[in-house]
Symmetry: C2
Subunit: 103 residues, 2 copies
């Protein structure tokens, strides 16, 4: 799950994830969207994302189509929801304290 965070924590990769969120995209088209980043660099980033399970790869002829793989984010999503719960727990604790004071 930490691999997920590391894969996301790079500006180019983060941008790629947004691109392949809704529609499947070939590597070349993804690379064209970037002004200052070369195609090989994008290719390497795609590999990192694929290894982390955050995108899927499908070959169609000479092309390789990439797409977001939502399941890959599951564990991290759960962790953040746990963190969020800490907030609710505190609100609950504060409310109980308040209740005690009143009685």
């Amino acid at each position: 799950m930490f691999e997920t965070i590391q894969a996301m924590a790079e500006p180019t990769r983060f941008a790629i994830l947004q691109m392949v969120r809704r529609r499947e995209m070939p590597a070349g088209e993804i690379a064209l969207k970037f002004k200052a980043i070369t195609r090989p660099a994008v290719s390497q980033h795609l590999r990192v994302l694929k290894d982390a399970g955050l995108v899927s790869e499908r070959r169609q002829g000479t092309r390789r189509l990439y797409r977001l793989r939502p399941e890959g984010f599951g564990p991290l999503k759960n962790l953040l929801e746990d963190f969020w719960d800490s907030k609710l727990e505190r609100l609950k604790a504060a409310a109980e304290k308040q209740e005690k004071r009143r009685s």
Copy 2:
């Protein structure tokens, strides 16, 4: 929100977040938990986490107490839930396709 990801994407900082999840901890106690990381290094990590809004700092005499700040994870949590929704959308689309074929 990208700052959130970058702050989390470092092993020591990630470990610190777990530590201060439930209880408030002074900087020194946090540093002691690590075998191979010095106190100044931990101090720098705490600063990054604080700047990203992921932990709160409270001063008590000469001590500084740190604690998880759940609100800081809100935006990232929302993003991951959006990513997750992509999965549900596809399942829905697939189900509709199936339905069409049947009729």
